[in-house]
């Protein structure tokens, strides 16, 4: 675990402790399970976003995609009677195809990721609303789907979503931090030209990142749909892409690409949910929700950067002492 991640963990624990002291309900089994479930759901597509951000790209379409795929899943299971495992596969494949489309537009046609996924944000939301005529998609009254309960089940009180997140995070960690593909992601994000000159198929690597991102988002979409049970296409998943981006940034990802860690983004997702919880439990008007979150992200990133600069100074002073010199003020930041 990196120092940076450790700092984030400490922040989570401090905030958690603060909330607990104000309202002991924070640590009640039910609240913990609820929060864990949300962490599982949001964590899934935050990791997804991480894969794209590491390449220096961004996926703004996540929230709309969650709405569109959620509507489709509920509709084809509830209204068209398709068995849920088949619907599950269809939705995941659809997600992967959307990701592939993003990837091809970005790598083959050289469109900026911001533009491609911004259009995705608008298009998927529009299609989702058009598909149901702006009506809420839900399961017919009184119907039950054995098996589907899995998505909302709790195993010994632990929600399946958080278990899934643990598995996905573990795999993602190995892929990003230990595998050849992960190294290529970092290389492409840092300097695409140099990566290409090293014989790396940069288009393939970037394209794959968008496919992975959309695939994981599709998985999250199904969980969200089952969590809310009914999907209202105009509000479902609104702003969720921003939660994912915020989690990644809190977790140490650089929006310029080439920097970030899986542990960081998961901790970022946890912190955001703890904050949500804080707003609820401390009786802060929920209209202030975003304001609280924005402030904490701002302060968190600020502290992190100041801390990094402080450590760099300490390191320099330390090496100066080693060589028998007195420490001097740090080098000014090179001018760009």
């Amino acid at each position: 675990m990196k120092k940076k991640d450790l700092g984030l963990l400490v922040l989570i624990l401090v905030v958690g402790l603060g909330v607990y002291l104000q309202n002991p309900l924070f640590l009640s089994p039910n609240n913990i399970a609820n929060t864990a479930n949300l962490i599982g759901l949001f964590g899934l597509f935050a990791i997804a976003q991480g894969f794209v951000i590491i390449t220096g790209g961004i996926d703004l379409s996540a929230g709309s995609m969650i709405a569109l795929l959620g509507v489709l899943f509920v509709d084809i299971v509830g209204n068209r009677g398709v068995p849920w495992p088949i619907a599950f596969v269809i939705v995941i494949i659809l997600g992967l195809l959307l990701g592939l489309a993003h990837g091809l537009l970005i790598t083959r046609l050289k469109m900026p990721p911001f533009v491609v996924t911004l259009c995705g944000l608008l298009i998927y939301r529009g299609v989702a609303r058009g598909y149901t005529g702006d009506a809420t998609a839900g399961f017919p009254f009184g119907s039950t789907y054995p098996g589907l309960d899995f998505f909302t089940a709790r195993i010994y009180g632990v929600p399946t979503s958080i278990l899934l997140l643990l598995v996905v995070a573990a795999i993602a960690w190995v892929v990003l931090h230990r595998s050849v593909f992960g190294r290529y992601l970092f290389a492409v994000g840092k300097n695409e030209e140099a990566a290409r000159f090293s014989g790396i198929r940069t288009n393939l690597v970037i394209g794959a990142a968008y496919v992975i991102c959309a695939g994981l988002t599709a998985l999250a979409a199904i969980f969200f749909a089952m969590y809310t049970r009914s999907v209202s296409p105009s509000s479902h998943g609104n702003f969720y892409e921003l939660y994912a981006i915020a989690a990644a940034v809190l977790g140490g990802f650089s929006l310029r690409g080439g920097e970030g860690s899986i542990i960081g983004v998961v901790l970022g997702a946890i912190l955001l949910q703890v904050l949500q919880n804080l707003v609820n439990l401390l009786g802060i008007p929920s209209s202030l929700n975003f304001a609280v979150m924005g402030t904490v992200i701002l302060v968190g990133v600020l502290v992190d950067q100041q801390w990094g600069a402080y450590r760099a100074r300490r390191l320099l002073a330390g090496s100066a002492r080693e060589s028998g010199a007195k420490p001097t003020p740090p080098d000014p930041v090179p001018e760009r």
């Binding site: 050849v180 007195k326 001097t328």
Partner: protein
């Protein structure tokens, strides 16, 4: 220049040499984690003198210049300017003291014109508080500076349109406009072709005649010999020696730099060259779509590729390596036609390219030395797609020994290495794999004489082992010393191929400008 003015110039330059130093460094030290870049250095600079600063890669030359330019702060010692001593300089103090820094990587805005670049941050204003940039005055002020430098472009040219050499002139014009008393250059000629370097050296002499001191770093020792009034040699952050104009000689410089004598060894081939390995037939590049290049590269030979800047050599290399699409023609390897549509195709066929621009395309500055070296060959360092850090480290250690990469640990970030050591990492990255054909684009740019010699031996060993080497180089000595044959390019076509018996500087230059060689 008339005899008279040359005379006058000489008198002028003789005078300031006796002048008092206006800048004095006393016992300056600077260390970075794991390295002592400067270990107590003294230096005096007098008006109008041209000081050549030489030393091995990582000796501390750039560090010294950074202290003067206010970009880094010393850990100890003093910097005395006009009798006032400082423990450190900030960038603005340095500029105010009349020190102008022409960086190795130029700091220009290529989206702005020349005049705007010269005055960046100090724009003349009009209309009082409206703060409108007075572009007319700006241009009027820059035009005479450009004239003085003999620059053939106007103040409203976009900097992005200028060649590297011309961009350097813009930097120098900026220095002149700031009333500089000392201009420092970090390897100003390393990326310039010979003719342009000559011009730059002449400009340094001109500055010196006006009483402006010059410090320049160079690994081209002939250049140092010609241009410097005196030479300061660094070794491991210490002063290894000073030479006055009369004492400067190639052998003496080398001995002070590396601490022993060195004869650059261009090993002769041990084996006769083999059959054709890579054949280019009718290759057309985007730069010169109307010229088709045919060229046979034999197994085990080092083919030098000479030519002026802009003759299409780099474009040809990029096309062979699959970076740029070819506009016609094809490649065959060992008699079989091959399709190379991407760099990864080329690597798959065993064709490698060491690119000329190391920061943009050669290495990842934010990766460690070990990660950079393993990058093109990561599959070989992985089992089941998981990278083995141990295997990477072993490879990097081996390369470090072989090429003499000066770095405290192979897990160091490449960004902190000195320029020459970064170049060695670029070479190590490709030499660590088994190439069939390797294209080296300016392979020894910024590398010190001792290491150059090692690299030449390494290239010869590869060739003797059957590897085909295409070496693009603007260093005449290198092309003639290392190559088995020299192909010369002129405006996109091969204007001639020289065999060993025909090697001469004159012949290469004749072909480079498109003339025929008289046998």
């Amino acid at each position: 220049m008339t005899a008279e003015s040359a005379d006058a110039a000489q008198q002028e330059s003789a005078e300031p040499a006796a002048a008092q130093p206006f800048l004095r460094l006393k016992g300056v030290r600077k260390s970075y984690p794991g390295v002592q870049a400067l270990a107590g250095l003294d230096l005096e600079v007098r008006p109008g003198e041209v000081i050549g600063l030489v030393g091995e890669n990582g000796a501390g030359k750039s560090t010294l210049l950074k202290l003067l330019g206010g970009i880094a702060a010393p850990d100890g010692g003093t910097i005395e300017i006009d009798g006032v001593s400082h423990t450190r300089l900030s960038v603005s103090q340095s500029i105010a003291a009349g020190i102008a820094f022409v960086h190795q990587e130029l700091n220009l805005f290529d989206n702005l014109d020349v005049a705007a670049n010269v005055f960046i941050g100090r724009e003349p204003r009009r209309f009082g508080c409206l703060n409108i940039v007075d572009t007319r005055r700006q241009r009027a002020a820059v035009a005479p500076l450009l004239d003085q430098l003999g620059a053939g472009f106007s103040p409203d040219t976009l900097v992005g349109r200028l060649s590297l050499a011309q961009q350097q002139l813009v930097e120098i014009a900026k220095a002149l406009s700031q009333q500089a008393r000392l201009v420092i250059f970090d390897e100003p000629t390393s990326s310039l072709p010979i003719a342009e370097s000559e011009k730059l050296l002449a400009i340094m002499a001109r500055l010196s005649r006006r009483g402006i001191a010059v410090i320049f770093v160079s690994h081209r020792l002939t250049e140092v010999q010609r241009a410097a009034d005196r030479v300061v040699v660094l070794r491991d952050g210490r002063l290894a020696g000073r030479l006055t104009r009369a004492e400067i000689s190639h052998d003496r410089l080398v001995k002070l730099m590396i601490g022993r004598d060195l004869k650059v060894d261009y090993a002769a081939p041990k084996t006769a060259r083999g059959g054709v390995a890579l054949a280019l037939s009718g290759i057309r590049t985007a730069a010169y779509p109307r010229q088709a290049v045919d060229l046979d590269l034999h197994r085990g030979e080092i083919l030098g590729l000479a030519g002026l800047v802009g003759s299409g050599r780099t474009e040809l290399a990029r096309a062979i390596f699959g970076i740029d699409p070819v506009h016609g023609g094809g490649l065959s390897l060992d008699g079989k036609e091959i399709a190379v549509r991407s760099a990864s195709d080329a690597v798959g066929h065993g064709i490698f390219l060491v690119p000329e621009d190391r920061k943009a395309t050669g290495i990842l500055l934010d990766f460690t030395v070990a990660e950079n070296i393993s990058l093109p060959n990561l599959d070989a360092h992985a089992s089941n797609w998981i990278v083995s850090a141990g295997s990477e480290r072993r490879q990097a250690e081996a390369s470090r020994g072989e090429l003499g990469i000066k770095v405290p640990d192979v897990a160091t970030l490449t960004a902190t290495l000195s320029g020459g050591n970064q170049q060695k990492v670029v070479l190590a990255k490709w030499l660590a794999m088994q190439p069939r054909v390797i294209i080296l684009d300016e392979p020894t740019r910024g590398i010190d004489v001792g290491s150059k010699s090692e690299i030449y031996l390494l290239m010869r060993a590869l060739a003797d082992a059957g590897v085909t080497i295409l070496m693009i180089s603007s260093d005449m000595e290198e092309v003639i010393g290392v190559s088995d044959r020299i192909a010369v390019m002129c405006e996109g076509r091969i204007s001639g191929i020289l065999t060993r018996a025909q090697f001469s500087e004159e012949n290469v230059l004749l072909l480079a400008v498109g003339n025929r060689v008289v046998p």
